[in-house]
């Protein structure tokens, strides 16, 4: 059975009111026809089964983060339905959502609340209802002393802490990681590959959005381009091979 299914999901950002009259006159005027509602994703369908991982590739502004926020339940599709474990996501009570699906934001430093890594882990365990991770698990994330204040971490370390808290403590059925910082760094790659392996063994689905291919293995690869999600085989020889995740045939020309 599919653990994550998107059925013809579309999303459109609704335009805000006209920009306020600016005191800085003399700037080039608004071009006619711009500033309207903006369609970001159009008729996206995809299926991921228990234990599968997927890399979501796309250029800046292609809709990767919007797709992640939809899958994480932070945005509602304009049309179409997202199913988690066969249940429509919009019918899952908000309190129950963190066990079902989580969007791992790019802005990791805004998601820490306590004065030490140990307190962050304790808080995450309490909120999720899961026991704190074992020391061996924490060690896989190459973090400094647990007494360290999260705000004193480097940017890549913050990313790893976020991955530990959400992936290894909350353990949602579906997790969408919006980008990796410094994927070439050994510590980053090891934390990611440990997370993917652990979640695969637990039968959970993991998606990672990024701008370019990674050496890390993913079961599936999607390209987000022109508002569409195009499915691809993850095998090196299969980049031109549609795996039928979309209702349209795809060709090598679709690859950005």
């Amino acid at each position: 059975m599919s653990l994550l299914r998107l059925d013809s999901v579309s999303f459109r950002y609704v335009a805000r009111p006209e920009p306020h009259p600016s005191a800085h006159s003399g700037w080039p005027e608004r071009a006619e026809g711009q500033g309207r509602d903006r369609a970001v994703l159009s008729d996206v369908s995809l299926v991921l089964h228990a234990g599968e991982s997927a890399l979501v590739l796309g250029d800046n502004g292609s809709g990767k983060s919007t797709l992640g926020r939809l899958i994480g339940g932070l945005l509602r599709p304009t049309t179409g339905t997202i199913f988690i474990g066969g249940e429509p996501l919009d019918r899952v009570p908000v309190r129950a959502r963190p066990s079902k699906t989580i969007y791992v934001s790019q802005v990791s430093y805004l998601q820490f609340f306590r004065a030490s890594l140990a307190d962050e882990i304790t808080l995450a365990a309490k909120q999720s209802g899961h026991p704190p991770p074992a020391e061996e698990t924490i060690a896989r994330f190459s973090l400094p002393s647990l007494e360290t204040n999260p705000r004193d971490l480097t940017y890549p370390e913050m990313w790893r802490l976020q991955l530990l808290l959400l992936g290894a403590v909350f353990r949602p059925s579906v997790m969408f990681i919006d980008e990796i910082v410094a994927p070439g760094a050994r510590e980053q790659r090891e934390a990611l590959e440990f997370t993917l392996a652990q979640r695969h063994a637990q039968g959970r689905v993991t998606l990672l959005a990024y701008q370019r291919s990674l050496d890390t293995h993913f079961d599936r690869v999607f390209w987000v381009k022109g508002g569409r999600a195009l499915g691809r085989s993850a095998s090196p020889e299969g980049l031109g091979q549609s795996v039928g995740l979309h209702d349209r045939p795809t060709s090598r020309d679709d690859v950005p």
């Binding site: 805000r16 920009p19 608004r30 711009q34 500033g35 800046n60 980008e179 070439g184 760094a185 701008q211």
Partner: protein, 181 residues
């Protein structure tokens, strides 16, 4: 004019950027202006749309330091035309960062030190950034993952990317890697 990729202890980007700046300035013999990202908050806060943000920054350059490009040329050079009437806060994280970088690069400066400039940017945005960086002054890129820059695939449909020279920071001195020129 040269573009350097500086390999350093990643902790220096977060905790020793002032020392890093001093070492780079000693190596290059010039004062460098530092770009340090406020991830995803690359916005003055005084404007709403991209058009307004660009206009605000261009109109507030010091009279002794006019922008390298005025509005239309700037928008074209940085490929921002399609975004002009979008709210800055509605841009994707990568485009918002790119806008802030573009405005920084539009200042007339003899040398720049760019910390963590390329994370969250696609290869296409990085190529544009490198092309603009090659136009004026020296640029030193210090990244968490310098290989992303050094192994940037060539775009056969675009002009060749400028050559990248390599610097190494051992925590006390920045030196050019032998043979990187």
């Amino acid at each position: 004019m040269a573009i350097y990729v500086l390999t350093s202890n990643p902790n220096a980007i977060d905790f020793d950027h002032a020392g890093l700046q001093r070492r780079v300035e000693a190596a290059l013999g010039v004062t460098v202006a530092v770009y340090r990202p406020l991830s995803f908050v690359e916005h003055s806060g005084f404007s709403e749309t991209v058009r307004e943000e660009i206009g605000l920054v261009l109109s507030n350059h010091h009279e002794d330091q006019p922008p390298l490009r005025q509005f239309d040329a700037f928008v074209q050079a940085w490929d921002l035309g399609a975004l002009l009437d979008r709210r800055v806060l509605d841009l994707s994280g990568g485009w918002r960062k790119f806008l802030g970088l573009a405005l920084f690069m539009n200042r007339p400066l003899p040398a720049r030190l760019l910390l963590d400039a390329t994370s969250h940017l696609s290869d296409a945005r990085i190529r544009t950034l490198l092309a603009r960086a090659a136009e004026q002054g020296d640029a030193v890129f210090c990244e968490y993952d310098p290989q992303l820059l050094l192994a940037l695939p060539a775009d056969t449909s675009a002009p060749a990317a400028p050559p990248l020279r390599r610097l190494n920071d051992d925590g006390t001195t920045v030196t050019e890697v032998i043979g990187s020129r």
